[in-house]
C-alpha cells in the first residue's frame, strides 16, 4: 500500500435494492401442418428478430468417407434455390438487413437468421426457399468444397483449433465420428460432390424432423399467417429419428504435445467427457466448474493469472457434445466435453501446468468453501436477465434445448436448481468432473522448450506429434 492521501469522501458499500422478478421466457410450442415444430417467444422491444432452425441431420449420419458433407450441405442450402441464384439470394437477404449463418455439428444442422422485425416475412420466405428448394448446382457445390479445403490450413495454424482437433482424436475411438474434425479433413472433403450433398439432404432434411424457434418483438406480426406462407409451404415425408450411438472416450491421464517450433506460448487444452444436461448432477457441475475456472476470480486464474501472471486467462467449462432424452430411465445418455483451456507463455509452461494440477488436487482434498459457492450461485443466477436481453440469446438457448431433447422449461428450472445446490454437491461434481489422473492434456507449443519440464511433472505419459 502506498500512502497516497485519499481526497474524496468515502462512503460505505451500498446495499442492494429489492430485486425485480425475472424469469427465463416460456415459449409457446406448436406444430405446422407439414409437421414442423415451432417455438415462438415474444420479447418486447427486441426489434431484431432471431430465428433458429434445427435439422435432425447429425454428423454420424454422414456416409463413410464423406466427413464434411453435412457442413457443405448446410452452406449450400443458401447458395441458390428454385427462385434465386446464389448471388441473388445473398443480395435479397442483405436487402432485408438480415444475416444468415448455417453450420453442422454432432447433433444436427443449425441455421440462424437475424432480421429487423419489419422485414421478417420476406426473410422467412427466403429461409423457407433455402430449406424447401435448394439447387445444389454442381458448380456451387464445387466452389464450396474448394473454399472449405482452403479453410483447413487456417484452422490447423490456429493453436486453439489445433488443440481441439487433437483432443477429439485422442479421446474418442477412431470408429466414432466424434474423433474426427466436424467439418471433415482434406481427404474426405475432396470427395464431396453435388450428388452426395443432395443425397444427404434428401435423407435427413424434412419439416417433420425440424424445429423453428422465433424470438423477438412479435407484437403486430401475424406470425401464423407469415409462417403459413413461408416455412409452412415446405413439404416432406415423415421419418424416424436416428438413435443416438453411445459415446465412449479414453481418458487415461496422458500428455500430447503438438510441436510448434518457436511458439511464444503454449496453448493448453485439458479434457475428458462427462454427463449431459439430462443428468441430475448438471447444476452442481455447472456451479463447481464455475468455481474452478469460470472467471478471473475463480481458482485457476486466481493463481495462474492474478498471482503468477503466466496467462491472460484460463477457463474451465462443460459443453454438451450430443444429447437426447434417455429412451428409458438409465438408458443411453449423451455426453459433454469437460475441459480447461488457455495459453501460457513458453518458459512458464511447466510451472503453469504444475500449478494447474495443484489447484485440482487442492480442490479434491479440501473442497469448495461456502463463500465460493454463494458467489457462484449469485453470479450464475443473477446474470440471467443480462444474458438473455437479446432475442438471439433466447433463441439460441431454446434451440439448444430442442437439440438436446430437453423440456422447454429446462433453463427456467435450471436457475431454481442452481439456487438449491449446496457446497458439498458442487464440490463432489467438480471433483468427479476433473479427476487429476483421468485428464488428457494437449499442449500446442514448442516441444524443444516444454517437453522436459512437462515430463518432470508426472501427469502421464508424454508423446510429441508434429504440428
Amino acid at each position: 500500500m502506498s500512502d497516497a492521501a485519499v481526497t474524496m469522501d468515502l462512503h460505505p458499500q451500498p446495499q442492494p435494492g429489492e430485486a425485480r422478478p425475472w424469469a427465463f421466457p416460456a415459449p409457446e410450442r406448436g406444430t405446422l401442418g407439414n409437421g414442423l415444430t415451432v417455438l415462438r417467444c415474444h420479447r418486447p422491444g427486441q426489434q431484431v428478430v432471431a430465428v433458429e432452425i434445427f435439422l435432425d441431420a447429425p454428423l454420424d449420419a454422414e456416409p463413410e468417407g464423406l466427413d464434411g458433407v453435412a457442413t457443405i450441405m448446410a452452406r449450400a442450402l443458401h447458395e441458390g434455390t428454385d427462385k434465386h441464384s446464389a448471388e441473388e439470394f445473398a443480395a435479397e437477404l442483405e436487402r432485408c438487413g438480415a444475416t444468415l449463418d448455417s453450420h453442422a455439428d454432432h447433433p444436427g444442422v443449425r441455421i440462424s437468421l437475424e432480421v429487423p422485425v419489419s422485414r421478417l416475412p420476406k426473410a422467412l420466405g427466403l429461409l423457407a426457399e433455402a430449406l424447401r428448394a435448394p439447387l445444389f448446382a454442381d458448380s456451387e457445390v464445387e466452389r464450396l468444397v474448394r473454399n472449405r479445403l482452403d479453410e483447413i490450413p487456417h484452422e490447423t495454424a490456429n493453436p486453439a483449433r489445433r488443440a481441439a482437433k487433437e483432443l477429439s482424436r485422442q479421446l474418442f475411438p477412431a470408429s466414432s465420428r466424434m474423433s474426427r474434425p466436424r467439418q471433415g479433413t482434406e481427404e474426405t472433403v475432396e470427395g464431396i460432390d453435388s450428388a452426395a450433398v443432395r443425397a444427404f439432404y434428401e435423407a435427413h432434411v424434412r419439416p417433420a424432423t425440424a424445429t423453428a424457434v422465433v424470438v423477438g418483438d412479435l407484437e403486430g406480426v401475424d406470425l401464423d399467417a407469415v409462417l403459413a406462407d413461408t416455412l409452412g409451404a415446405w413439404t416432406g415425408d415423415s421419418a424416424e429419428s436416428r438413435p443416438m450411438p453411445p459415446i465412449t472416450a479414453d481418458d487415461t491421464g496422458r500428455v500430447v504435445i503438438v510441436d510448434r517450433p518457436g511458439a511464444v506460448q503454449t496453448q493448453l487444452l485439458i479434457g475428458r467427457i462427462g454427463p449431459d444436461r439430462h443428468d441430475r448432477v448438471w447444476p452442481a457441475q455447472v456451479l463447481g466448474t464455475y468455481c474452478l475456472g469460470g472467471t478471473l476470480t475463480s481458482r485457476l486464474d486466481r493463481v495462474l493469472r492474478e498471482e503468477k501472471g503466466y496467462t491472460y486467462g484460463v477457463r474451465a467449462f462443460g459443453q454438451v457434445l450430443r444429447s437426447d432424452a434417455p429412451a428409458s430411465p438409465g438408458g443411453a445418455a449423451g455426453a459433454s466435453m469437460l475441459a480447461i483451456s488457455g495459453s501460457v507463455d513458453t518458459p512458464h509452461t511447466g510451472p503453469a501446468l504444475d500449478d494447474l494440477f495443484k489447484v485440482l488436487r487442492t480442490l479434491a482434498a479440501e473442497g469448495l468453501t461456502d463463500a465460493e459457492r454463494d458467489v457462484a450461485v449469485q453470479n450464475l443466477v443473477g446474470v440471467a436477465p443480462l444474458k438473455y436481453e437479446t432475442a438471439a440469446s433466447v433463441a439460441g438457448t431454446l434451440a439448444d434445448q430442442v437439440e438436446q431433447g430437453l423440456p422447454d422449461d429446462y433453463q427456467a428450472q435450471l436457475y431454481a436448481r442452481l439456487a438449491g445446490t449446496g457446497t458439498v454437491e458442487a464440490t463432489a461434481a467438480v471433483v468427479s468432473a476433473f479427476p487429476v489422473d483421468r485428464l488428457v492434456t494437449v499442449l500446442v507449443g514448442d516441444a524443444s522448450e516444454i517437453e522436459e519440464p512437462v515430463r518432470a511433472l508426472g501427469i502421464g505419459e508424454v508423446t510429441v506429434v508434429t504440428g
Binding site: 497516497a4 437475424e114 474448394r146 487456417h154 403486430g220 436481453e389
Partner: protein, 447 residues
C-alpha cells in the same frame, strides 16, 4: 422503448438526458424498463494516442491496474463484487478512449456506481508494485495470445504503423510493444492516473431500468467529492492530408497458412457525413456475402477464401478502411491485387446501384439496431458521442444519418479515397517456421 419498425430510422423512441456535476463529470441517463437491468459505462478521454514515445501500451496496462483495488475495494474486489451481484463487467482500451462498464441487475446499480467512484477517486492509495508486476506479465501474455502467437496476428499493428507516419499519435496500437511494456514503471502508472483519471475528463452513462432522479443523487453522492484537475495536455494533433499520396508497401515473410493481401486506406474522420458515406462504400464493396469483392474473388474468380472490407472509425485522425483478402491455394497476390483495383476503379467510376445502396443501408441499420438493442450497447454509444463529439444525443440519430447519405456521396468518397495512391499495403508470403525466425532475427524484430 416501444419503437415500431418504421421508426427505426429515427431515434427509435429512445431518449437521453444530460447532466454535469460541479467537478466536471458529465452524466448521461437513459430509461428503459423492459428488462430489470442497468448498464453503467464510464469513458475516460484517454487512449493510446495520448501515450508518449517509449511508453506505448501504458493506457491499456493502466486499464488493467484499475481492476487491482482502490481505497475501499481490496485486491480483485471490483470483479468479485460485481460478479457476486449477478453483474458482468470489463474494460477496453482503444486509440481514443478507455472504457469501463458494468451491466447489473437493476437493484444492484448503486454498487456499480460506488465501485467506479472509489477507483476514480482513490486508486493510488492501493496501487503497488505487486499489482504492477503481475499485470505487466498478464498484459504481455495477452499480447502473445491475441497477436504474437496467431497467424497474421500482428497485421493490424503493421498496417497501422505503415498508414500513420512515425511520430503520429496513431502510429502504434493500444497493445504497445513488449519493450515498452517492460520499461513502464509504477511511477509512470501513477502519473498517468494523475494526468488523465479526473472526473472532468470522463463521461458516465447509465442506461436501463433506472429511476433517473435517484440515480443522479447516487452519482452526486459517490462521485461529487472527487476533485477535478487539469493536468491533461491535449493529444498530439492527428490530422493528416486527405490522401497518402503514394502507395506504401511491406512484404511479410512469416509462417502463415496462405498468402494474403491486406491494405489500409486513409478515410475521412468519424463524425462527418463523408465517414458515413465511406462506411456505405466499404459495405457495398466488401461487407457481407453479396458485396462486389466477395462476388468477384470468392464466387466468380474463386481466387480467395475470404475477402472483405472493414471500417475503423477514428475521430482524432483519419479513419482506416481495412481490406483483408486470404488467397486460395496456388493463387498469387498480384492476381488478387489486379482484381481489387479493377473493382475499386469501376466502383469509383460508376458509383453504387440503387439496389446496392438499399442493401448497404439495410445492413448498417441492422448493425445499429443490434448495438442499441442492449442497455450496455446503448450506454457505450452515448458515451462515445459525448466524449468524441460532445453530444450524446447524436447516438440516437446515427442511423438516420447513415440512411440520409446519397449514392452520389458514396461515389464521391470512393473516387477520392479508394485509390492505390491512398493506401498502405501488407502482403503475406508464407515461409516455413524456421525461415521466418531467421528473418526476424535479421531485422531485429522484437519477439
Amino acid at each position: 422503448m416501444g419503437h415500431t419498425a418504421t421508426a427505426q430510422a429515427g431515434s427509435g423512441g429512445l431518449t437521453a438526458t444530460e447532466h454535469r456535476l460541479a467537478n466536471g463529470l458529465r452524466v448521461v441517463l437513459s430509461e428503459d424498463h423492459l428488462t430489470p437491468v442497468a448498464a453503467v459505462c464510464l469513458w475516460y478521454d484517454v487512449g493510446s494516442r495520448h501515450e508518449v514515445e517509449g511508453r506505448t501500451g501504458l493506457a491499456h496496462l493502466f486499464e488493467h491496474l484499475m481492476f487491482q483495488g482502490s481505497a475501499q475495494v481490496p485486491g480483485n474486489g471490483h470483479f468479485e463484487l460485481v460478479q457476486g451481484a449477478g453483474g458482468s463487467l470489463n474494460g477496453t482500451t482503444s486509440f481514443e478512449r478507455t472504457n469501463y462498464f458494468e451491466t447489473m441487475p437493476a437493484h444492484q446499480l448503486e454498487l456499480a456506481l460506488w465501485l467506479e467512484a472509489d477507483r476514480m477517486g482513490s486508486l493510488l492509495s492501493a496501487l503497488d508494485d505487486e499489482s504492477m508486476e503481475n499485470q505487466r506479465d498478464v498484459v504481455k501474455n495477452e499480447r502473445r495470445q491475441r497477436y504474437d502467437n496467431v497467424p497474421y496476428g500482428t497485421a493490424f499493428e503493421k498496417l497501422t504503423a505503415l498508414a500513420y507516419p512515425e511520430g503520429h499519435p496513431y502510429h502504434h496500437t493500444p497493445i504497445g510493444s513488449m519493450a515498452d511494456l517492460d520499461a513502464a514503471t509504477l511511477e509512470d502508472a501513477r502519473n498517468f492516473f494523475r494526468t488523465y483519471y479526473a472526473p472532468n475528463n470522463a463521461v458516465l452513462s447509465v442506461v436501463g431500468d433506472i429511476d433517473p432522479e435517484r440515480t443522479l443523487a447516487w452519482i452526486e453522492k459517490y462521485f461529487g467529492s472527487i476533485p477535478m484537475h487539469d493536468g491533461k495536455q491535449p493529444p498530439r494533433d492527428g490530422t493528416l492530408p486527405e490522401t497518402i499520396g503514394e502507395q506504401l508497401r511491406e512484404v511479410v515473410e512469416e509462417d502463415v497458412p496462405a498468402r494474403a493481401l491486406m491494405a489500409a486506406y486513409r478515410l475521412p474522420h468519424d463524425g462527418t457525413r463523408e465517414a458515413d458515406a465511406a462506411d456505405l462504400a466499404l459495405t457495398v464493396l466488401g461487407g457481407g456475402e453479396s458485396s462486389r469483392l466477395h462476388n468477384r474473388l470468392v464466387r466468380r474468380d474463386r481466387t480467395a477464401v475470404a475477402a472483405g472490407f472493414g471500417l475503423l472509425r477514428l475521430a482524432g485522425a483519419p479513419s482506416l478502411g481495412w481490406l483483408d483478402v486470404k488467397t486460395s491455394a496456388g493463387v498469387e497476390v498480384p492476381d488478387i491485387e489486379a482484381a481489387v483495383d479493377e473493382e475499386l476503379a469501376r466502383f469509383a467510376a460508376e458509383g453504387p446501384t440503387a439496389e446496392e445502396m438499399e442493401r448497404a443501408q439495410a445492413q448498417l441499420e441492422r448493425e445499429w439496431l443490434d448495438r442499441l438493442g442492449t442497455v450496455a450497447g446503448r450506454a457505450d454509444e452515448l458515451c462515445r458521442y459525448a466524449v468524441l463529439f460532445g453530444d450524446p444525443q447524436l447516438a440516437l440519430t446515427a442511423v438516420r444519418r447513415v440512411l440520409d447519405v446519397t449514392a452520389e456521396e458514396v461515389q464521391a468518397v470512393a473516387k477520392a479515397r479508394l485509390r492505390p495512391d491512398n493506401r498502405a499495403v501488407l502482403v503475406y508470403e508464407p515461409v516455413a517456421a524456421a525461415e521466418a525466425e531467421d528473418n526476424d532475427d535479421a531485422e531485429g524484430t522484437d519477439q
